[in-house]
C-alpha cells in the first residue's frame, strides 16, 4: 500500500470522511468493469460497486494497513458480486444480460453504436458463460483486469496453484468457444 493510501485511510478513520473519495477514485473504473463482467449489465454493476464502496467505508477500521488496499477493495467487490448473484438467483430473477435495461442505460448512444456494443457484449458474455464461477473470477482478474497470479490468489483467498489451474482451464474453454462460435475473432476481426 502506498504512503498516500495509508495517509488517506488514517484521515478517513480520524473523521475526515471526504478523504474516502480520493482513496477509492483510482479503483472506480476497474472495479466497475469487474462488477460489469460479473453481473452482465451496467445497472447491476453500479449497484454492486456502490454496495462494495459502502462496505469498504463501513469496515475500513478492519482493514490491515500492512496489506494491499487494492486487493482488499477487489475482494469486497468480488464478494458483493457473488452476494448479488446469489440474491438474484434466490429471487428467481434472470442474471443474464438485460437488453431492456441496457437499452435504457445506453440511451445516450446512437442506435448503431448501441447495437454494436450489444453485439460485442453478447460475444464476450457467450465466452464467459462457459466458465464456472471460479474460473470466471480468475479469468476476469488475471486476464481482463491484468492482476498478477499472486494478487488474484490473495483476492480470491486461494493458492497461486489453484489460480493457475483455474486460469488454464478458463483459457482453454475460452479458446474453444471462440474457435467454434466466433472464429472471425481469432483472425483479428471484430
Amino acid at each position: 500500500m502506498s504512503d498516500q493510501e495509508k495517509d488517506l485511510v488514517e484521515r478517513v478513520l480520524s473523521g475526515d470522511t471526504a478523504a474516502f473519495e480520493p482513496l477509492i477514485a483510482p479503483y472506480r473504473k476497474p472495479l466497475l468493469g469487474l462488477a460489469y463482467r460479473m453481473a452482465r449489465n451496467s445497472e447491476d454493476a453500479r449497484e454492486i460497486t456502490q454496495d462494495a464502496f459502502l462496505r469498504a467505508f463501513k469496515y475500513l477500521r478492519n482493514f490491515d494497513a500492512d496489506k494491499s488496499f487494492k486487493n482488499w477493495i477487489y475482494k469486497i467487490v468480488i464478494h458483493a458480486a457473488r452476494n448479488f448473484q446469489n440474491k438474484k438467483a434466490k429471487e428467481g430473477r434472470v442474471v443474464a444480460s438485460g437488453p431492456v435495461k441496457e437499452a435504457a442505460a445506453r440511451g445516450s448512444l446512437g442506435p448503431e453504436r448501441g447495437l454494436e456494443r450489444r453485439e460485442l457484449r453478447s460475444r464476450l458474455m457467450d465466452c464467459l458463460n462457459v466458465l464456472t464461477p471460479r474460473e470466471k473470477e480468475v479469468f476476469l482478474l488475471r486476464d481482463i483486469e491484468d492482476l498478477s497470479i499472486r494478487e488474484s490468489a490473495r483476492i480470491l483467498g486461494c493458492s497461486a496453484i489453484s489460480v493457475r489451474v483455474h486460469l488454464s482451464a478458463a483459457r482453454g474453454k475460452i479458446r474453444e468457444r471462440i474457435k467454434i462460435r466466433h472464429p472471425e475473432l481469432m483472425e483479428g476481426k471484430k
Binding site: 451496467s42 481482463i144 483459457r171 482453454g172
Partner: protein
C-alpha cells in the same frame, strides 16, 4: 519436455502465469514443435480477442454529479467499530494441538493401571468401606496450548481412572 506435458502448460505460457525459467523452457519447445506452436498461437489470439471485446464494451460509468452524490451519501454513514472476531487458528496450530492431545491420550492409556485385574491386589482405597473413604481432591492433568489457549483438563481418582463429571 514432450508434447503431452507441453499441452498442460500452453494456456499458461500464452497469457503469462508461469515462472520465467519454465516459460523459457516451454518457449524453446514451441519454437521447435509446429503443432504446439500453432496451439500456442491460437491461445494467444483467443486471449487477445477476449481482451479486445472487454475493452470495446466498457460499463456505463456514473456521471460526476451521481458520483459526488453517492460519495456524499457514503461519507454521511458511520464507520463501524473494529470487529473482534474469534480467529480460527491456522492449520499448523490446529495440527499441533491435535498432536498434543493424541500424545497425552496415548500416554494416559499406557500409564493407566488395570483396575480390576484378577489375582491382582486391589488398591488400599478399594479395601476400605465406603463410609471410611475420605473425600479427596482428584488429581488432574491440565494441557494448555500456547498458540490457541485451549485448555484440556483430565481428572483422575486414586486408581488413575478417569473421573466422570458430576461425581
Amino acid at each position: 519436455m514432450n508434447c503431452r506435458r507441453m499441452k498442460k502448460n500452453i494456456p499458461l505460457v500464452s497469457g503469462g502465469g508461469l515462472s520465467a525459467k519454465k516459460g523459457q523452457r516451454i518457449r524453446a519447445h514451441l519454437d521447435r514443435c509446429p503443432g504446439c506452436g500453432q496451439e500456442a498461437r491460437e491461445f494467444e489470439a483467443a486471449l487477445k480477442a477476449a481482451k479486445s471485446l472487454a475493452a470495446a464494451d466498457p460499463p456505463e460509468d456514473w456521471s460526476e454529479a451521481e458520483w459526488r452524490k453517492m460519495m456524499a451519501a457514503i461519507a454521511s454513514k458511520k464507520i463501524g467499530r473494529r470487529r473482534v472476531l474469534v480467529s480460527i487458528p491456522s492449520k499448523p496450530v490446529l495440527a499441533g494441538g491435535l498432536a498434543l492431545v493424541l500424545v497425552a491420550a496415548g500416554a494416559f492409556f499406557l500409564l493407566k493401571k488395570p483396575a480390576n485385574e484378577p489375582g491382582r491386589p486391589r488398591s488400599p482405597s478399594a479395601l476400605v468401606s465406603p463410609s471410611q473413604v475420605r473425600p479427596e481432591e482428584p488429581s488432574s492433568v491440565t494441557i494448555v496450548s500456547k498458540e490457541t489457549g485451549l485448555k484440556i483438563m483430565w481428572f483422575f481418582n486414586k486408581d488413575l481412572d478417569l473421573e466422570k463429571f458430576g461425581k
